[in-house]
């Protein structure tokens, strides 16, 4: 299964992504196609003494650009071309370490949303106490969203948690206190929305998330990204391998988002993960569960 790598995305692009592509191909047999400015990519491949397929995508969405406006102005941006390869069936998954918002936007425009999905969500699997995993949604995809999207976030993240091994995932809303009524207006409205969804266990504070009291923690992308980055910054070296790749749930294809500061090793690991989720059909499983939920709503 071929993985399309946005080699123009990330703080260390294109050098780190190109090195990652060569490593993943050589060490793990990942079939990678590099998507980016062809001349530049060819030069980096030549310097590294490697040879991989390249698809030309001359434009880049910068980390400082508004993703939606930038992708309208740059239809040949690398991240969008990479997503279009999946839409055309020429690749099974996409990996980008570029702007998370741009990756979400490109994926939505190129691949479309899964049935019943109001807004796709970036989900990060966070290792917590007892060797368990908590799914954080949104980990940074949409900064300003209406609270009515959180029901969909919870449903997609629950499906992901089930794939990761939690049979009946419990969902918490990240908040400043566990009592109902806590938080700002957004959190209060999100609480009301989540109260009608399966598995909702109420508000949850960060310490309880890390204790593994829930399987899924839902929040907006702004708060979620700060939460994730705080965990990364506070991680003690030797605590275990940090997970630097998240999955975009709710689009019709496998899309993985690597950290902007990802090293070549991190991106190589993301490419390997992309191959695994493509084989496992994660997007298809999430889509199937969302379809079933939609049918239950329609019947009810």
């Amino acid at each position: 299964m071929r993985v399309a790598l946005d080699v123009m995305g990330g703080d260390h692009a294109p050098a780190a992504p190109v090195e990652a592509a060569l490593r993943a191909a050589a060490d793990h047999g990942v079939d990678v196609v590099c998507v980016g400015a062809a001349d530049l990519v060819a030069e980096h491949l030549r310097r590294a003494g490697g040879d991989l397929p390249v698809v030309d995508a001359p434009d880049v969405v910068g980390m400082d650009e508004d993703p939606v406006a930038a992708l309208r102005a740059k239809p040949r941006a690398s991240v969008r071309v990479a997503c279009e390869l999946v839409a055309a069936g020429e690749a099974a998954a996409v990996v980008s370490a570029g702007s998370t918002g741009a990756t979400l936007t490109a994926a939505l425009l190129a691949l479309g949303r899964a049935p019943g999905v109001r807004r796709p969500v970036v989900a990060a699997a966070i290792p917590v106490e007892g060797g368990r995993t908590v799914v954080l949604a949104d980990a940074g995809g949409s900064m300003d969203v209406h609270p009515d999207v959180v029901g969909g976030y919870a449903a997609m993240a629950r499906a992901y948690a089930q794939v990761l091994g939690a049979p009946e995932p419990r969902v918490g809303l990240l908040n400043v206190g566990h009592e109902p009524g806590k938080g700002h207006a957004w959190a209060k409205e999100a609480f009301d929305v989540l109260s009608a969804t399966s598995g909702f266990a109420g508000n949850i504070e960060p310490a309880a998330v890390l204790a593994g009291d829930v399987d899924v923690v839902v929040t907006d992308g702004f708060t979620g990204n700060i939460f994730l980055k705080t965990l990364e910054a506070a991680a003690v070296p030797g605590d275990g391998e940090a997970d630097t790749v998240a999955s975009l749930l709710g689009v019709n294809g496998e899309v993985l988002v690597a950290h902007g500061a990802a090293s070549a090793g991190d991106i190589a690991a993301a490419l390997r993960r992309a191959q695994q989720v493509a084989v496992a059909g994660l997007a298809q499983r999430i889509s199937g569960q969302m379809s079933q939920a939609q049918e239950r709503r329609d019947d009810g």
Partner: protein, 89 residues
């Protein structure tokens, strides 16, 4: 040459796709405000507009929308007027 479209016809295309994308049961009209009434942000708007542009191309048009103005549009009618104006360029 493609037949000229009215703003009302573009509104009809937009409202149909907005209802689908946003999963709205209630009416979407030219006066519907993206933010307050539909809870739609710029990503929702662009997804819908790209879908409408694709439909217009199949009808022989060459849509050319002013993106800055589009992203600042407050109502469905505002966006439809911008798309309709871009058809004449």
């Amino acid at each position: 040459m493609a037949e000229q479209m009215t703003t009302d016809e573009v509104v009809a295309l937009l409202t149909d796709r907005l209802a689908t994308v946003l999963g709205i049961d209630g009416p979407v009209t030219a006066d519907s405000r993206f933010d307050e009434d539909l809870h739609a942000d710029s990503l929702d708007l662009v997804e819908v507009v790209e879908s409408v542009e694709q439909e217009l191309r199949t009808r022989g048009h060459t849509p050319n929308v002013d993106d800055d103005a589009l992203l600042a549009a407050e109502t469905v009618g505002d966006a439809a007027a911008l798309i309709q104006a871009g058809l004449g360029r």
